[in-house]
């Protein structure tokens, strides 16, 4: 676990561009700079094709920029070999996806424990910490259920527990309520509201304005660039817009 101070820069994009195509170059991101600090509860918002997904890939160290630098916890990720990027990703970032991406043959607790593999922890330590994380999202009693035995909302809560179990500096969520009904969406957003902490940052990538309203900082994107970056007073989630 990497510790951070309140207000410290956890992740920084400096003049980042991401270009696809060899012959015909398409700019998915163009000269984007962004700092994510401890305590941020950020929403990245924009219409389809605005570059949100590309941004998410770069923030999550899942992709490399064509130009510019991505710095995570003080390390320039562009200079790191693939294995080191994997290690950094596992140590500092927790992911929550729209489609949950749980491993179907594993029980909820084992899905959460997947994030703790290859860290020198014993099986019982992995299980204890995973149970703790599941209990924090109200799913302690469903620990031994496989994804197919859980509702969509419960699956997303398992995914959130998996993202939190490593105690990451940054939680990256991609349309976390996109596949949920309004009741489950509210439950999940309630959990996200509770994640706000001075030591970590939460970034929600969404096209839902009601989701964005729960953040204290909103970054709006259009055509591969940031058009606004404003701080706001968060409001409680009012259901999917």
């Amino acid at each position: 676990m990497i510790l951070s101070e309140p207000g410290a820069t956890l992740l920084e994009l400096a003049h980042v561009s991401r270009v696809y195509g060899e012959q015909v170059k398409v700019y998915a991101l163009r000269d984007v700079s962004l700092q994510i600090r401890a305590g941020d509860h950020m929403a990245i918002i924009g219409p389809s094709g605005s570059g949100k997904s590309t941004m998410l890939g770069l923030l999550g160290v899942l992709d490399r920029p064509t130009d510019g630098t991505v710095t995570v916890a003080g390390e320039d990720t562009g200079a790191l070999p693939d294995d080191e990027r994997s290690r950094l990703r596992g140590d500092t970032i927790g992911f929550v996806f729209q489609q949950f991406h749980l491993i179907p043959h594993l029980a909820a607790v084992d899905n959460v424990a997947t994030a703790l593999l290859y860290r020198g922890l014993s099986r019982s330590e992995r299980r204890d910490r995973s149970m703790e994380a599941l209990e924090s999202v109200g799913l302690g009693a469903r620990a031994d259920h496989r994804p197919v035995q859980l509702s969509g909302g419960e699956q997303q809560r398992v995914a959130i527990a998996r993202a939190l179990v490593t105690r990451p500096l940054l939680v990256l969520a991609d349309e976390p309520t996109g596949a949920l009904d309004s009741k489950n969406a509210e439950m999940v957003m309630e959990i996200f509201a509770g994640l706000q902490s001075a030591e970590r940052a939460v970034v929600l990538v969404t096209h839902d304005h009601n989701v964005a309203a729960t953040a204290n900082r909103v970054v709006s994107m259009r055509d591969g660039g940031i058009v606004s970056d404003v701080t706001q007073t968060p409001t409680p989630f009012r259901g999917p817009s």
């Binding site: 294995d83 596992g90 996806f97 994030a115 290859y118 490593t166």
Partner: protein, 395 residues
């Protein structure tokens, strides 16, 4: 080490999660190894009884017969042939028999017409014969020095003749040799290395000469037991030792040689079946490669999320390679068990003695593991090369 254990756990969970798929890809290694274990086991077991008997009898017995040289119709060995041969350093023991010709042998007074149709060899013998042959008596006792000294009409019959004459164990009975009643004092167990003895009657040299009118008690055949490992050397030395510069010619043979040759498994059949097993294993390997390649595509989301959670390319590749390894190991083990089962079943039906070389099992199972790992290499590399961003479908 803990990383290694974690990888094993993930691989085993992956195999256990998809039971039908796992069963399908297990078939290749199972059939391949079962075919190879079965091929070797069945071809060896078909000769298993001979092998077992050979192991029991040993390979150190030599038979010595007088050669029929020109002008000699009934060749014999020198009277003191046993003593001459015993002088050879590596000879453990020796015994001789002398065939008495033209003896009419009957189980009793009646049935002369029927039994005379089957000529029975009657042999004068010395007391050491069963010990040299390493064959026990089925019942009763062997001819003794007391029989010779007391001039008794004692006879021992071979196991085959005893069965033919209906001699019961412990029964007091006689057989008729040239019209003389001889008391049957024992029955010699079957002699695997010289089946002629199974149908023979054994009497003392005195009885041979005095009661059965033998011209001579000179031996016609000698059995020599050589020291372990010196059989051929002794067999080569015997003609000189017996002749001692005289005119007697002898032929020697090692009866276990023939048995040993016939106990050899049919190598061509074995190799053909082995080849078929290897082919099954290779086809099974293709099956593993095929199914695992599809599996990598189906499990791309799992691969993506594992990568997002910090797994390196190497760990992802190893996870799939370990799955292939366990498929090979499990398939190999099950195949070996199946192969052994088939050998036992067929041997039980055919009445064979089961011969299975368990020392070779690691080779067959190792082959299955090798093929499975080789087959899993491509899907593993494919899995390791998957980009998490491509598999997670963001946005």
């Amino acid at each position: 080490m803990s990383r290694f254990r974690e990888l094993i756990g993930i691989a085993l969970a992956g195999i256990a999660a998809r039971k039908v798929r796992t069963l399908l890809i297990l078939l290749g290694p199972i059939v391949g190894v079962a075919a190879m274990v079965g091929a070797v086991g069945l071809t060896e077991s078909a000769k298993g009884d001979l092998k077992a008997r050979l192991a029991e009898l040993g390979t150190s017995l030599i038979t010595v017969e007088a050669a029929s040289s020109f002008g000699s119709q009934n060749p014999t060995l020198p009277q003191n042939a046993v003593r001459r041969v015993s002088a050879i350093g590596s000879v453990d023991s020796a015994a001789a028999v002398g065939e008495i010709r033209n003896v009419v042998t009957l189980p009793n007074e009646g049935g002369a017409e029927y039994y005379q149709a089957f000529p029975v060899p009657v042999l004068s013998t010395d007391t050491a014969l069963p010990a040299v042959l390493q064959v026990p008596l089925r019942s009763g006792r062997w001819i003794s020095t007391a029989d010779q000294r007391n001039r008794t009409k004692a006879a021992v019959v071979g196991a085959g003749l005893a069965e033919q004459y209906g001699v019961l164990p412990g029964e007091i009975r006689t057989i008729r040799l040239n019209g003389e009643d001889f008391g049957v004092v024992g029955v010699l167990e079957r002699v695997a290395l010289d089946a002629n003895l199974d149908n023979a009657v054994f009497v003392t040299p005195y009885a041979a000469k005095e009661y059965l009118g033998a011209d001579s008690t000179a031996p016609t055949k000698m059995y020599v037991r050589a020291a372990e490992g010196a059989t051929q050397e002794v067999a080569d030395a015997i003609p000189t030792a017996v002749a001692l510069g005289g005119s007697k010619e002898v032929t020697t043979s090692i009866p276990s040689d023939a048995l040993e040759a016939s106990a050899q498994a049919d190598k061509t059949l074995q190799q053909t079946a082995l080849f078929a097993g290897l082919l099954a294993l290779a086809v099974g390997g293709l099956g593993i490669a095929n199914v695992m390649s599809i599996s990598v595509i189906q499990r791309s989301s799992e691969i993506g999320i594992r990568r997002a959670l910090g797994s390196t390319r190497l760990l992802i590749g190893l996870q799939f390679l370990f799955e292939a390894l366990f498929v090979g190991l499990l398939g190999g083990l099950l195949g070996a068990v199946l192969g052994v089962g088939v050998v036992y079943l067929v041997s039980a039906i055919a009445g064979w003695v089961v011969v299975i070389d368990y020392a070779k099992m690691p080779i067959w199972i190792g082959l299955a593991v090798g093929v499975a790992v080789a087959a899993g290499l491509y899907p593993s590399i494919k899995a390791a090369r998957l980009e998490p961003l491509e598999t997670l479908r963001l946005g």
